[in-house]
């Protein structure tokens, strides 16, 4: 071997074992005074030593540059430590954990966040007023704005009445970069065009259980949807892209009253991890125009689903089928903004919101959920993972429903379950056209969000 002796010497010196950690005494032992399995255990100076550092020197040689390089990370952790301790000792953290951390008597306020769809990332706030008991809130005000120019404000009131719940709500939504790809199952992604959509609504709803798993909801909502040209930076504009065939309702305002009746059968329990059960819902809406544009139409929506427990604990297959259909009265005109579309992140998830639009929409979804983290116990606080496949299409006439026209998306995500149920999900969905990432606080069959919650798609279903 002809390696440099210097290298070997330096190597040997740096890698020599440490000097013994024990400072041993040179004095001879004294007679034993205690008998153990080893014999007497003396307690004299000769058998006593101070222990200090342990570990061979080479470890310190290896660790020194590592410590130097990672020192900034160490400083960061010290900063985190100071911040965390300060926040904990001054009561900041418990309020951060609450959805509405600001409390002034029975008024609660807090921030809100949204991500997903073409509105992008955004935030806002919520103000709740309750009757000094959790879950007894009766007034909600919400406002959200996103980086891509979506603004939405809503106010809702609710209270018990005649054995059920009454909700009153109103709101306004402005979407500066609403999108239109054309109508029908063969519309093309390359036909993307932009427009500005403005919605407002105000209405009343009455929700009442009918006994057992049956429930009903009546709703009367004045709605107004207007469309116009997009912002200059959003192009191509709808009018430009679809110049030969501008869809009905563009650059018009559709005002009217939407009267709805909904019947629901819900045989599930809980919202976090629904127990096995079936849930179905049928809804019929009648739109009567009050303005100068557009005609009356009927709209029918049905959805059905089931939660099927699988092997082991908390493994569930959630399956859902949904259909919506807009039926003009006579030869009436229905603005394109009131047609069925995939907007909610529940239908055709791998596609952009409002990618598919027509009179009818059919969607089938299967989602497999399994637990990946439990805080303490099964069926309780934790995080579930899920994988799904989602398939469907839009159609103008029922005879257009054909497997060759179906669009499929797939993906997965994580669902957070807290002690009072489902808290939110983050999902990535993929289709042949795009990949969508969504952060949502709602889920399949989440029927809680009505007029009170200020959900625009409940108020102005399309």
């Amino acid at each position: 071997m002809r390696a440099s002796p210097l290298v070997l010497v330096l190597l040997a010196l740096s890698l020599c074992p440490a000097a013994p950690a024990l400072a041993r005494s040179e004095t001879p032992s004294r007679p034993d005074s205690t008998e153990s399995y080893w014999g007497p255990i003396p307690d004299d100076a000769a058998s006593r030593a101070t222990f200090q550092r342990s570990g061979p020197s080479w470890e310190h040689v290896v660790l020194t540059p590592f410590t130097f390089v990672t020192y900034p990370v160490f400083l960061l952790t010290r900063g985190l430590r100071v911040g965390l301790i300060f926040a904990d000792e001054h009561g900041v953290l418990p309020s951060l954990g609450a959805a509405l951390p600001i409390h002034i008597r029975n008024v609660h306020a807090g921030p809100g966040f949204t991500y997903g769809g073409h509105s992008g990332f955004g935030g806002g706030g919520t103000i709740l007023v309750d009757r000094n008991q959790p879950g007894s809130d009766w007034l909600k005000l919400r406002y959200l704005t996103t980086v891509k120019g979506m603004h939405q404000g809503a106010a809702g009131l609710r209270g018990p009445w005649a054995g059920g719940d009454v909700e009153a709500g109103g709101g306004y939504r402005l979407e500066r970069n609403a999108r239109f790809f054309g109508l029908g199952p063969t519309s093309r992604k390359s036909d993307l065009s932009y427009f500005t959509e403005e919605q407002s609504w105000a209405g009343l709803s009455y929700r009442r259980a009918l006994g057992g798993p049956f429930g009903s909801e009546w709703r009367v909502v004045y709605t107004s949807i207007g469309t116009r040209a997009p912002r200059p930076k959003d192009g191509p504009a709808l009018a430009q892209q679809f110049a030969p065939a501008i869809p009905e309702g563009y650059n018009q305002r559709s005002d009217g009253v939407l009267s709805s009746l909904l019947l629901r059968y819900d045989h599930t329990r809980g919202t976090g991890r629904p127990e096995p059960g079936v849930i179905t819902q049928g809804q019929a809406d009648y739109f009567r125009p009050t303005g100068t544009y557009g005609d009356a139409f009927w709209r029918y929506v049905g959805e059905a689903g089931a939660f099927v427990p699988l092997w082991f604990t908390d493994r569930t297959l959630a399956v859902r089928g949904a259909v919506s259909w807009v039926d003009e009265v006579g030869t009436g005109v229905v603005p394109f903004t009131r047609l069925s579309t995939n907007h909610s992140g529940e239908e055709l998830r791998g596609f952009q919101n409002d990618r598919w639009r027509d009179r009818g929409l059919l969607d089938l979804s299967a989602e497999y959920r399994w637990p990946v983290w439990a805080h303490q116990r099964v069926h309780d606080v934790g995080v579930d993972a899920y994988a799904f496949i989602n398939s469907g299409q839009v159609f103008r006439e029922w005879n257009q429903v054909a497997s060759r026209l179906w669009q499929t998306s797939w993906g997965g995500g994580f669902r957070a379950i807290l002690s009072d149920g489902f808290a939110g999900r983050i999902e990535i969905a993929r289709s042949r056209e795009s990949t969508q990432i969504r952060l949502r606080a709602d889920q399949m069959f989440d029927f809680k969000g009505g007029l009170y919650a200020g959900n625009a798609h409940i108020a102005v279903p399309n």
Binding site: L6, L8, E35, G39, A49, L63, R81, A385
Partner: protein
Amino acid sequence: MRGTPISRFRTDGPAAMRARGVAWLALLALAAPQASAAPLREGPVLWQEDDRKNVVKAPVERNPNLLWTSTNETFLRPIGRLVNPVRLGRRVGTLFGGENVHEAGDVNTLGEVANSSWFTNRIGLFPLSPEKVSLGPGDGRGPSTEATWTVIRAKTQGVTPGFDIKDATGQVYLIKFDPPGELGTTSAASAITGRIFHAAGYNVPDDGVVTFTRDRLAVGPKATIRDATGVKRPMTEADLDTILHRVDRLPDGRWLAIASRFLDGKPLGPFSYKGIRKDDPNDNLRHEDRRELRALRMFCAWLNHWDMKEQNSLDMYVEDGGTKYVRHHLIDFASTLGAAAGGGAQPRFGQEYTVDFPAIGGRLFALGLHEDAWRRGRRPEGLAEVGYFESRGFQPMEWKPLQTNVAFANMNRRDGYWAAKIISAFTDEHLRAAVSMGRYRNPESAAYMARTLAERRDAIARYWFDRLPPLDFFVVRGDAVLFHDLGAERNLYPGATSRYRVRFATAAPNGSVSRWTDWADLTKTEVPLGSGPAALAVKGGDAGESSRPFLAMDVQTSRGNGWSRSVRAYVSRASGAVIAVER
């Protein structure tokens, strides 16, 4: 070998490449098993750590923030260990038989932990009667019942209220109750675990299960209470009644609680499992390098002590015979043996960390096609006083506390073996004696607990004794070396016939040995020194006693499935004493 002059040393070329290769091999070799790091020397074996020297000024009380320690232990320290280059290198070294972490620093040449302010050798080294185990650190009687107990302080916050009392002898006790609906669980766990830890050698408070009626208690004139809003005010009898009204009672109307005697001295807060207490001049060895803290992992696995945060320890500034120093204690054993201090024990406790990334990742990629065993965990049927504690499926090295622990992460094989040696020293009688102090009302609960402890004990012992042969306690008696086969003595291999063989060589102080003799079979755990292979080694040694003053003795055992690794004992040729043991 002719070297290359420095001026002509190059960083490329065959010579430099060979040097780099040598460096890497050396690094790997150092991670591989080594001969005794310290030279062999004649002289007394060290049995006492000199860490009880007088400390004039009491160290400052520590009060670590629970949220920070949880965050640090759950996220930051595990990531730090994952990217630590020394640990990475050692992990590679384990492929070549090396250790995952360097040796503990408070171990003598026989592989034993020296007595210290942290640990006192008891059942592991000395015969201990079951009665002594049941007494624990005190006299086993709890608060004196000669007069009423004077309540001096109370707390109402938290799931389980409690109060401090002073008995007729002036001793102060903390009285804690079981969580609602769990009468007898945490109180029994505290008493039993405390006794086991004490017998093992740890410093623990004197916890005992007590029962009392209302007239045993009287609120002292200066008693205070901190109410639900945190405000401190004078305590009244009505306050005491309110506390007692909230807790469960025995069928005969008495209350059952754990009485924990206040430790002597001034409390200094918990100790950290990492580093040292800088203002304690006696604390010189990093805590994560102490064998008794590393091996605590196995004791906690045995007892399912899942709540191993540092807040469940306590340093006390004590005075002992005029000398003041810091003594280190383990405290609060309510969350052991399947129970939970705040109630709501879960089968998950002891199976995973609070945020267990490998487990989460495994579940994610397994797509839910595998069920964690703990999800099927059940409490024993009909035994309400026993929590989630069983021996079925118990894997010692799979056990995890809720929070990672840096000392536990430093446990190596020898630390694990040392713990197994002590744990296996508890006989069934010892365990029954400890369990009896839990005062279970249902004898089936006591029987179940004792049986489960025994089975988990055997699982731990077999795990480590299968990896490091349990040949121990080598002593010279007359002209022979006697040793113990702990596996056979403690009946861990029933039905197996144990065989032994030995070989000898002379050894120099640096551990180098002469030519080994051939293996010689032994009929018992006794090796003659004046004849047989020992004599052959001395006779055939190529150096005299001055240059090879020690006899190295390799012993192996076989239970019918091949010979084990060797345990090597060194005997001084001059004094005839065993001076070191390596395994």
